[in-house]
């Protein structure tokens, strides 16, 4: 195998490790990149090198940023007294896509898990409690996954913030937009029924 082929194979192997890609799709992607070296591959390599160099965790909320403090935490307009607690950066990005929350975030980096032996100390829960006290927070919104681990973590945080005077709320659970009742699981239907509101 020539050096060039070996380099391409190594690239394919690396690409195949990405989520959503397998060896065949990685091979297709690499071929596409090679064919469009100037328009796609070079700018992509440059962008990746830049992010690899500069990406870091925001010291305040745990979001991924290219500076010590992320854009959301440094934006004064977002100091609304509300902190939205999410499990992961992907959840923060999902909330931001919705453009309906204008406060700040706190990324836990996981949930309490009996299976994986993740405890409160591994998550940023003490850091969250400190933030709530420092920033004069009025409301903490728990936007955690509707799973056993997510809800266990939500209860733990609510308990950790008891006595601080801050309002602890959580996202509603129920019928998704475009959802058909016939296709919903019974857990979601009963949660939706419990959270019904006057129409």
């Amino acid at each position: 195998m020539s050096d060039a082929t070996r380099e391409i194979e190594a690239l394919i192997e690396l690409m195949a490790r990405l989520p959503g890609l397998g060896p065949r799709s990685a091979r297709r992607a690499v071929l596409h990149l090679i064919k469009r070296r100037g328009q796609v591959m070079a700018p992509l390599a440059e962008a990746m090198a830049g992010v690899a160099r500069n990406a870091r965790e925001c010291a305040v909320c745990g979001n991924i940023a290219t500076s010590d403090i992320c854009d959301i935490c440094s934006d004064e307009r977002r100091a609304t007294g509300e902190i939205c607690v999410v499990e992961d950066v992907a959840d923060l990005w999902a909330m931001e896509r919705g453009q309906s929350f204008r406060g700040r975030y706190h990324v836990l980096g996981g949930t309490l898990s009996a299976l994986d032996a993740v405890g409160p100390d591994e998550l940023g829960i003490p850091r969250l409690a400190a933030r709530v006290a420092q920033e004069g927070t009025r409301e903490v919104i728990l936007a955690l996954n509707a799973t056993v681990d997510g809800q266990t973590t939500a209860h733990y945080i609510a308990e950790a913030l008891e006595g601080t005077g801050v309002a602890v709320t959580s996202l509603a659970q129920g019928v998704p937009i475009g959802g058909e009742l016939d296709y919903l699981d019974d857990g979601t239907i009963s949660a939706a029924l419990r959270a019904r509101k006057r129409f």
Binding site: A114, L115, A117, V148, Q151, D186, G187, T188, A191, R194
Partner: protein, 240 residues
Amino acid sequence: MDWRDEALLLSVRPHGESAAIIEVFTPSKGRHAGVVRGGASRRLAPVLQPGSQLSVAWSARLEEHLGHFIAEPVLSRSFLWQDRLALAGLSATLALLAFALPERDPHPTLYAATQALLTSMEVEGWPADYLQWELLLLEELGFGLDLSACAVTGDSDDLAYVSPKSGRAVSRRGAGEWASRLLPLPPCLLGETPTDEAELADALATTGFFLEDRLARELGPAPIPEARRRFIDLLQRRAK
């Protein structure tokens, strides 16, 4: 090889990008693992939540293979998630089963008791049922406590302690100067209704000793699941 049974879902782990490896507790096969194709998909993820009651069909070419499950929902127990204590109890129950049960070893009595416990979690007072469930778990796994009579005097009244060595009851008279070395035997361990959460916490400390010192030690270096400690902590905080 294939079989079909009802099952309590104990745990779910992602497997690859779209599949999941689940562990279930069934009446006829005990704790059993298998792959669910598409188990991480949007359609199946809500169904595959720990604590859910499922109807499962398992198949594999050979019995010793991991095999595949086809899982259908029977009952979601997500209604327990709103109650902090019930969720902690549910997590402790599932974690203990996943931790302690040997694979593919049926325990139909424990299965029935687990179903009854999870059903009782909807109403107040269920932690006393949880205590009885832990006693049954110890018994089913060969570490049962004998609380029928005093190990020293043979008396069946005034039982106040449990011997940490034998797991047998000891009466106040039989304990004598050894009382400080024995574990407490609150009346609720003998099946009476606990007077308060403090009594229950004492009883769970006693079962906890045998879970930790006997069962977990027998199983290997891993400690008792953290979920149980969190549940007991919550009970103790409520007792204060």
